[in-house]
């Protein structure tokens, strides 16, 4: 059952379909939010707020195009709001005593963690720069900083990063980089 079918079933009162629909949306929205919001708690709050709004509205609202487009427009706008709010908050006094601290979510999946470690070792064995660029990128270094550290041009760094990521994904998928 695709999303639009789930929507139609849920709208007609199928509670199980509704549950599935929101589960489906949650998984995707959280993925989108984490792409743009570094702080995981903020990302989680934002998605929860969006889903709550959709749940209250989807039964009554007149959806012109498709449910997918409507739901996406909500998360998209909220994400843009969040980002612009961050900029606007320059006018708000924030107490200096508190910081948002890194959040780590739930315990890591040990199987995935193990696979990832193996893959990184394999990539390192093949090309050390691939492993290093992945490491720098995901630790939050800017492209400029990565370039400086690895003595690369910007374009070259994109190429390396893309290759490294492809290799890592393949390895995670197949267990090997060949």
């Amino acid at each position: 059952m695709n999303i639009n079918e789930l929507y139609l079933s849920a709208q007609s009162g199928d509670r199980a379909a509704e549950e599935k629909l929101f589960e489906y949306l949650y998984l995707r929205f959280i993925l989108f939010a984490k792409q743009r919001v570094w702080n995981e708690e903020d990302a989680e709050d934002l998605v929860q707020g969006t889903l709550l709004f959709i749940k209250e509205e989807y039964v009554n609202v007149q959806i012109q195009k498709s449910f997918v487009a409507w739901a996406y427009s909500i998360i998209h706008n909220r994400l843009l709001n969040y980002i612009s709010k961050k900029k606007r908050r320059r006018d708000v006094i924030v107490p200096t005593s508190e910081y948002t601290e890194d959040t780590f979510g739930s315990e890591p999946d040990p199987v995935l963690e193990n696979n990832l470690l193996n893959c990184l070792r394999k990539i390192f064995a093949v090309n050390q720069r691939y492993a290093r660029i992945l490491n720098f990128h995901y630790q939050g270094f800017t492209t400029e900083e990565v370039c400086r550290k690895l003595n690369l041009t910007r374009n070259h760094s994109y190429v390396l990063l893309h290759k490294a990521r492809t290799l890592l994904e393949r390895c995670l998928e197949k267990g090997d980089i060949n």
Binding site: N2, I3, L25, L27, R28, L31, F32, K34, Q35, N39, D42, V68, A71, Y72, H76, K86, R89, R90, D91, V92, I93, V94, T96, S97, Y99, T100, E101, D102, F104, G105, P108, D109, L112, E113, N115, L116, L117, L120, F124, A131, R132, L134, N135, F136, H137, Y138, Q139, G140, F141, E145, K149, Y158, L161, H162, R165, T166, L168, E169, L172, E173
Partner: protein
């Protein structure tokens, strides 16, 4: 799994995940992801891996290992480049042997030259020495939330991970400031940054500001070349308030390295996030700094409370456990070891050293600290702790060497002077001991501790009146100074001023503010009747204080020591079966409390068994001690003592002398010297007996008060030794002293009528 409905999108997945798409492309792709199961699954799977890349400690550690592995290789490669390559010999047959010999010779010279000019990482770091000054908090000049302090300390922690930069610790900067201010009689504020950096022998000085406006945090820093005063770089890092101070410091660290290190070295550096080598909690770090500050002021209780707070906010902060292990009890070391991976390189050395010392692995404990000072030569605490370890191991000369290095780094290092005083005294250098403690007094004339230590030095050198005066000064400054109160009482006790001793011991009890301290204070009350030879009274007092301990619900060491005291009193009453019963009660409880100690107190237990006629059981204890001599340092001297007692009981005085001598050489215990004196008397070696008993009577330790009856009997036995070598006047003096001290003693002691008889005989003779 179904295929993607539009391959065009699938190709963009990587770019999306890497954040390389435009806003429009992003929207298109996200809409696609809502409908395409295949693309979503691909991305979701990878997103989980990305999460791990960002947050998994194991992954970060692997990344670090990879970088380290690469570093080694790279250094080797760099070294290879410097190695002169020999041109391949094209016509070997044409080269005369003599030229080959010259080449070999040249090779050897060149090889040496190459080694000499290859800079080690330590040498590089030493060249790249940097002082980090306090970051000024422009938003709050008082820095009430320690934000400026946090930044400078975090930056120090982060840059200390570098093998190419040697960071002068903030502690060292503060020490230097205080020293310069004191030495030159200037206010701390008048000491300039460059002046300070020059004094710290730094090549660069880094200073900066912290500012938080409505939503942004701004860090600025300025790097200055100390020699020329030129500004090498300025940087500004801005982040919004959702960012942590830790991530801002990470950025600043990267910029500092990029400014200072050649690209090759910067590339070789491993990158650990500062939060990974400290804590992820700003609150925990703030309490940590507070604890360190208290610790430096020797406010132990306040420091411990701060470190406990740290753990409330971050239960994985390894260094908080480390400090608590030093301040509270050693069990905290388990926490430090558990989270050692979350500590910085320097801190790991400290933790491993403490763990090794807790396991009595002194070699490892010392090696860790030596490795630490090799990499971080400014670490005064490492020198100080090395001094303590060597002192504990009776390597006093080495202890003095390291303690002196600690005071060279920080000439206001009070605790190092304190231990220097004890170390010099241990070495028999009384004048240097007094010099060291007077240095401490000059630094902190308002503190009780240096006067207390000076009292100890006087007392240990037999200058009991000066000791009493110095302890009095300590108590005048701090009336609750327990150590001074107890030693003041003990000093009075040995001066036969029992009333003053009683007052001091009562005071000791009243200042104790917890059950354990009270239990510790109570035992002194039993010493007075014991030294007076009033055994029944001593037993009565001991029973009373045991009851008081029980009411206070004390069941640990302080209570057990009273069972041991009872055993000794019974022994002195010649009630050996009761003494044995007390020891059998005491030893299992002691072993339970000290599961690693299977040896201590078996010496006295064997002595009681022998006196009680249970020689075979005593031999069993001896055999067990013999088996433990290799495992425990104290095993050997416990064994020697027990063997000596057995020798004496069998009339083999020469063997007893040998055994007691070995025991006394290993452990400076009153009982060992006392029994050695007895053995010398039995072996008719009177001059040696005189030396030992004279020494014993200048031994002003609580251990002597615990064996208070032996302490007084030493006068009698010294008298017999004098008498034996014809020093009758000295003998008379000792007998009189003995009889005077025991004027109210119980009549149970055979030495009393013997002394009276001997005295009478000598008086008649004269």
């Amino acid at each position: 799994m179904s295929e993607c409905i539009d391959k065009h999108f699938e190709e963009k997945l990587h770019h999306y995940e890497l954040g390389l798409l435009s806003e429009e492309e992003r929207c298109e792709l996200e809409l696609h992801l809502l409908e395409c199961e295949h693309c979503y699954n691909r991305l979701a799977r990878f997103a989980r891996a990305v999460d791990l890349m960002k947050h998994s400690r194991k992954v970060r550690d692997l990344a670090r290992e990879m970088s380290e592995g690469e570093t080694v290789d790279a250094v080797e490669v760099a070294t290879d480049i410097r190695k002169p390559k020999f041109r391949k010999i094209i016509w070997p047959t044409l080269v005369p042997i003599s030229i080959a010999a010259v080449l070999v010779f040249l090779f050897l010279i060149l090889k040496d030259w190459q080694l000499e000019f290859r800079p080690s990482q330590e040498a590089l770091a030493q060249k790249n020495r940097m002082a980090i000054m306090h970051f000024e908090n422009l938003s709050d000049t008082a820095d009430s939330l320690k934000l400026g302090e946090m930044v400078s300390n975090l930056l120090t922690a982060a840059l200390s991970e570098s093998r190419f930069i040697q960071v002068v610790s903030s502690q060292r900067i503060n020490d230097l400031k205080a020293y310069m201010s004191r030495k030159e009689e200037r206010s701390i504020d008048s000491i300039g940054t460059l002046e300070l950096a020059e004094e710290a022998n730094a090549r660069w000085v880094l200073s900066g500001t912290y500012m938080q406006d409505k939503t942004d945090i701004i860090l600025t820093m300025q790097l200055v070349d100390v020699a020329s005063g030129d500004v090498i770089a300025t940087e500004r890092i801005t982040g919004d308030t959702s960012m942590t101070v830790f991530s801002l410091v990470d950025q600043l660290t990267a910029r500092v390295k990029n400014n200072l290190l050649p690209p090759e070295e910067a590339r070789l550096e491993t990158d650990r996030l500062v939060a990974d080598v400290t804590t992820h909690s700003a609150r925990a770090y703030r309490y940590y700094l507070e604890g360190v500050e208290y610790n430096n002021k020797v406010y132990r209780e306040e420091a411990a409370r701060s470190f406990e707070k740290v753990i409330e906010y971050d239960s994985t902060f390894a260094m908080a456990y480390y400090h608590l292990a030093l301040l509270r009890d050693r069990s905290y070391i388990d926490g430090a070891m558990k989270y050692i991976d979350r500590a910085g390189t320097r801190d790991r050395y400290y933790i491993r050293s403490l763990e090794a010392s807790a396991e009595r692995n002194w070699t490892a404990a010392i090696e860790e600290l030596k490795a630490l000072i090799k990499r971080y030569p400014d670490e005064k605490d490492a020198y100080y702790r090395l001094g303590l370890f060597y002192y504990s191991l009776d390597s006093t000369e080495q202890a003095i060497e390291y303690l002196n290095r600690a005071v060279n780094i920080d000439p206001l290092n009070k605790l190092a002077y304190n231990h220097l005083a004890y170390s010099y005294n241990q070495l028999g250098d009384y004048n240097q001991a007094i010099w060291a403690i007077n240095q401490y007094i000059a630094i902190a004339p308002g503190e009780a501790n240096p006067y207390d230590t000076r009292g100890d030095i006087y007392r240990l050198n037999g200058r009991i009146d000066e000791a009493i005066a110095s302890y009095g000064q300590a108590i005048a400054i701090n009336p609750k100074f327990v150590h001074s109160l107890s030693y003041l009482g003990v000093s009075y006790l040995f001066k036969d001023e029992t009333d003053s001793a009683f007052v001091a011991f009562r005071k000791l009890l009243t200042v104790a503010d917890n059950a354990i301290d009270r239990a510790n204070a109570r035992i002194y009350q039993a010493y007075i009747p014991l030294v007076e030879g009033r055994l029944n009274k001593a037993m009565e007092v001991t029973d009373d204080i045991i009851t008081a301990d029980r009411i206070d619900q004390v069941s640990t060491g302080p209570l057990l020591s009273k069972y041991l005291l009872k055993a000794f009193i019974y022994y002195e009453m010649k009630n050996y079966s009761q003494a044995e019963a007390e020891m059998e009660k005491f030893i299992p409880l002691y072993r339970q409390l000290h599961p690693d100690d299977n040896v201590n107190h078996n010496d006295f237990y064997a002595q009681i068994l022998i006196q009680n006629g249970r020689k075979s059981r005593a031999e069993e204890v001896l055999q067990q001690l013999a088996g433990d001599t290799g495992r425990y340092i104290c095993g050997m001297y416990n064994y020697r003592y027990a063997e000596g007692v057995l020798n004496l009981s069998e009339g083999n005085a020469a063997a007893a002398v040998r055994n007691f001598k070995q025991a006394a050489e290993s452990a400076n215990k009153f009982s060992y010297f006392y029994m050695l004196g007895q053995a010398y008397l039995a072996a008719a070696q009177y001059d040696s007996a005189i030396t030992i008993f004279e020494k014993l009577l200048e031994y002003y330790e609580p251990g002597r008060a615990f064996m208070g009856t032996w302490s007084v009997k030493a006068h009698y036995y010294l008298g017999t030794a004098y008498e034996a070598v014809g020093r009758y006047d000295d003998a008379v003096g000792e007998y009189r002293t003995f009889l005077h001290l025991w004027r109210n003693a119980d009549p149970v002691f055979e030495e009393l009528p013997a002394a009276r008889e001997r005295l009478k005989k000598l008086e008649n003779k004269s």
